[in-house]
Symmetry: C2
Subunit: 340 residues, 2 copies
Amino acid sequence: MNLEVNEKVTITDIADKANVSASTVSRVLRGSAKVAEAKQQAVMRAVEELQYRPNIFAKSLASGQSMTIGVITQNFGSPFYDGILQGILLALEKTEYWPLFADGRWQPDVEERALYQLLDRRVDGLIVIGGQLSEERLQEVARYVPLIVAARNTPLLPNNCLYVKNFEGAYNATRYLMDMGHRDIVHITASHINPVAIDDVHQRRRGYEQALMDVGWEVDPRLIVEGNLQQQSGVLAIEMLLGRGRPFSAIFAANDQMAFGARLALYRRGIRVPEDVSLVGFDDETFAPYMVPPLTTVRQPDMEIGQAAVTAIMQMLEKKTPDLPLFETELIVRESVTRH
Amino acid sequence: MNLEVNEKVTITDIADKANVSASTVSRVLRGSAKVAEAKQQAVMRAVEELQYRPNIFAKSLASGQSMTIGVITQNFGSPFYDGILQGILLALEKTEYWPLFADGRWQPDVEERALYQLLDRRVDGLIVIGGQLSEERLQEVARYVPLIVAARNTPLLPNNCLYVKNFEGAYNATRYLMDMGHRDIVHITASHINPVAIDDVHQRRRGYEQALMDVGWEVDPRLIVEGNLQQQSGVLAIEMLLGRGRPFSAIFAANDQMAFGARLALYRRGIRVPEDVSLVGFDDETFAPYMVPPLTTVRQPDMEIGQAAVTAIMQMLEKKTPDLPLFETELIVRESVTRH
DNA sequence: CTGTTAGCGCATTCAT
DNA sequence: ATGAATGCGCTAACAG
């Protein structure tokens, strides 16, 4: 591609060179109507020779389509969201659309501005990952543009929502510990956190409880401690727990951050992992395999979610009802758990 | 913002409502010429009442500016590049421009396609982070559109390039180990890696060597081992090193990944960190503070680089010569080093 | 099947 | 200072 040349080649230049009208050029380029074979060839040749690149603004102005998909994410740099992003990028590469990113940074006003901007730029579809926008607001948006909300359960928008089976993930993790012979299993849950995360955390707690109940064990409240998803709160949780004097042989934390905090607290008390206590987290953060010992955890299928989001948007653009699969989690077994 | 309403409000609607011509509306909105105070007010009021949002395609088509800045990155999900990205986003928020991202994935063909696409979308400026595009190619691009190449030293483009003082970072890290009483310091360097990274790695090695030479110590080739930047190669490096039988008390790895590999290898051999051997990495990857013990490493100022890139692009858009600072690294001291 | 004619919404002349 | 006219490059409706 010669950058200098193609700059101002327009559709009429092609038309002239190929001895056809501009409309015909447009037709062969968009495949919007049948054109005689000979003219097709002529047009293609002219396009090639003149290094023609359609002006996207003119195209969008005339067609009303921007050929872009807006993506609102939260905090670039989080592995889960970045994974979703990658999935979106990958899937979008196979389409004619281009992503328009915006970072909501988990701040409602920032997110609202981002939404505003993306709408201004006339995105043809919108993918919102997590975030704080109210469901009512999202409903409004959904009436206006094809919308997919990923990594967030939005009851008001059952047909626009893509999420992960947190309940099952937690259930399986707990069940795994039980299968490894553990009976007294601690759960570190969380409260006083943002409303989006709270739902996930709640589902995880329910999964933990259900696993116990399904074999007829009772849920001992002394085995449940609350953090706030931050690492430091995992430390505190363990200290609180040890203060209770209730014996236990395994810990299942609602996220890896708190699992790591727990790991630190145990280390300071001289309690070994996994010899004395087994440990399981949730999320499979980047650092999980780097912990000592490497952390057993639950992976959420981030890339798949991103790809599914794009697929769904494409279906909506074709006025079809989108597929909205639920996503299974995967237990990643590493050395932080041992048989009891 | 009422999503339903503003959809088709055009500049003529505003003109009608304010009893002026479309040109006048355009003038007050762009501030491109003086307009009577009274009409200004009237226009602004109409804009407000009708929730007018200019159509960006028409604007771009007429003005020739897209008000976008293209950003080519490599592998979403790497902490260093993500940091730069965040910096770019943050800085861009204060401007009228919007970012257009593309992921080159460290694959030349993918990157070339991304470049192609961004140019097609008529970005007003371009930031390339790392990547494999040849310098010649970048030169071509630079003639065509304001360009900044970040996190990569490109001799052919001294006026478009933003990079980090790898030499100094490595020098300081090595010096730190020396100050802690270490004399026999291993360096894990790398070879057979991509041409962009090779330069950084080389600078780091030079920094290590210079630190030794500056106090009159000789560089012992038996203390230098080569990996390929991957974690596993750190393991092999240590095993090779131990095979040589040359004693040492500290290790400085050219990146955190190899440092972690080294950590594993030492662990398997029963060599303690930092009691027996001190360890320093480079990059301050996400997992560095989560290692056991937490890893002393060298942080590159990612966000600052991103912000500087945007600043530079804005200056170029104003036809000014851009500021192109060199970036200092920062030694992050954690528990993996002890006095010898 | 294909050329002609109108816009798409805005910025920018050019007159006044 | 301001309105009218023109054009940006393309798509789509309309004839033929």
